[in-house]
Assembly symmetry: C2
Homo-oligomer: 216 residues x 2
C-alpha cells in the first residue's frame, strides 16, 4: 500500500525516481541505520544532525541522552524532516554532465513524541539495537531503570514519506556514444572488517554471534 | 587554525568529541561526498535532502538541475545547515546502554549563493567531479554552454563549522567487565566492487584510470 503523497513528499525533480510504496520505504529504512534529522532550533534556524534509528512497522524510533538538544527540541513536537540515504554506485557517463550516482533514499516529515512508558521505552531501545545489530540485544546486559531514565526515546510516525531510487547505467547523449571514453557503474557497498576484541574480555569469551553474522 | 565556535556549532553533548580544527573539518569533508542539506521551505517547514558536494579551500559547492527546488530555495540566501557523516564502526559494549558507533561528522551553517560566472561555474563543477572521482573530469567531455545553463551551482562558505569524532573501543561500567559478553569494535568501510561496463562502449576502450584507482 502506498503512502499518500503530500506537497512535502511529492518528488518534483525526476518524478520517475519517486516511489511512495510502503514496502520500498521500509526496505530502505531497514537497510541503513544512520539518519539525518532536520529541525528548526529557535533563532539558530535549521539544524541537521546525524543519529541512529530503528523501525517497527510505521514507527521510527530515535534515542539518545536525555540532555540532547536535538531530542529535547524534537520532543516538544516541532516539525521534523528525516532523511536516510544509501549510495549504491557511481554512474560514470561519457560527459561530465550525465554523471550521476545510484542511490536509495527516503525523506520523512512529521512530529516526534517522547516514549515515556518504561516498558515501551525498553522495547523501543531493543528495536533500535536490533535494527543496527540484529541479535545483539539478547547478548548484552539490558538497561537498568537508571539508564532508561537517562535516555530520551522518541517515536515518529512514518506517514508522510517518499523514497527516491536510481539504478542502472549512464544515459549519455546520442552523439557521445561515439567517444572513446569508458562509461559504466562503479558499485559501492559497506562491508565489515575484522572485529577488534576489547582489551578486557573475560577468558574464553569468543566473538558474539551478532557480530560474526553482521551484514548490510 | 580553528574555526571560531558559535552558539550553533558548539558541541554540547560530549564536548570532548567536538573539534573545530580546520584540518579535521576539511579531512572529513574530503573523505565523504554525500551531504544532507537542511533548510526551511516556507510553510512546509524544515526539509532535509541528500546531495553531492565538492570542497575547495573554505568553500563547499553544491550543484544540480536549475529546476531543483532545494537549490532554488538555497540560492535565495536562506539559512542552511549541512551535515556530512562517515560511519567507521559499531562499538559493541557489554551493556545495551554503552553501545555506540565510531564516526566522523561535520555540521556547517551558513548561506549559499549561486555561482553565475561561466568560468567559475565550470571550475566549481570540476571541483565537485574531482571530489567524488579524482581524475574523472579530465577523462570526459566537458560541459557545453547549454549544459552549464541547465545547471545551478551554489557556493557556501565553510565558516561556521564543527566536527564530531568518536574512535576507539567500548567504555563499560566497571562491574560489567566481569560479564562473559564479547565486546569490541566491528569496523565498517565503503568499498568499490567490480566496475560494470556500459553496454555501448567503443571497441578497445579499457577501464578508466579514475575508476580503476577509485578509493575512499
Amino acid at each position: 500500500m502506498d503512502y499518500q503523497p503530500t506537497p512535502r513528499t511529492t518528488v518534483r525533480r525526476l518524478p520517475k525516481r519517486g516511489d511512495y510504496d510502503r514496502a520500498t520505504v521500509h526496505a530502505i529504512l531497514d537497510a541503513a541505520f544512520v539518519c539525518h534529522v532536520g529541525f528548526v532550533a529557535g533563532d539558530a534556524g535549521p539544524v541537521v544532525i546525524p543519529t541512529l534509528y530503528g523501525r517497527s512497522g510505521d514507527t521510527l524510533y530515535l534515542h539518545g541522552s536525555a540532555a540532547s538538544r536535538m531530542l529535547k527540541t524534537l520532543a516538544e513536537g516541532v516539525e521534523a524532516s528525516i532523511a536516510v540515504t544509501l549510495v549504491d554506485g557511481l554512474v560514470m557517463a561519457r560527459s561530465a554532465f550525465h554523471h550521476s550516482i545510484n542511490y536509495r533514499s527516503v525523506v520523512l516529515f512529521g512530529k516526534a513524541a517522547p516514549v515515556t512508558d518504561e516498558e515501551a521505552k525498553n522495547e523501543a531501545l531493543r528495536v533500535i539495537s536490533d535494527h543496527i545489530s540484529p541479535g545483539r540485544w539478547a547478548e548484552v546486559r539490558p538497561p537498568t531503570q537508571r539508564e532508561l531514565k537517562a535516555t530520551l526515546v522518541l517515536s515518529m510516525p512514518i506517514e508522510e514519506a517518499s523514497a527516491k531510487v536510481r539504478t542502472g547505467g549512464p544515459v549519455d547523449d546520442e552523439e557521445d556514444y561515439a567517444l572513446p571514453v569508458w562509461a559504466g557503474v562503479l558499485p559501492l557497498r559497506t562491508i565489515a572488517g575484522t572485529p577488534v576484541d576489547d582489551g578486557r574480555l573475560q577468558a574464553g569469551v569468543g566473538l558474539a554471534k551478532s557480530v560474526a553474522e553482521w551484514r548490510r
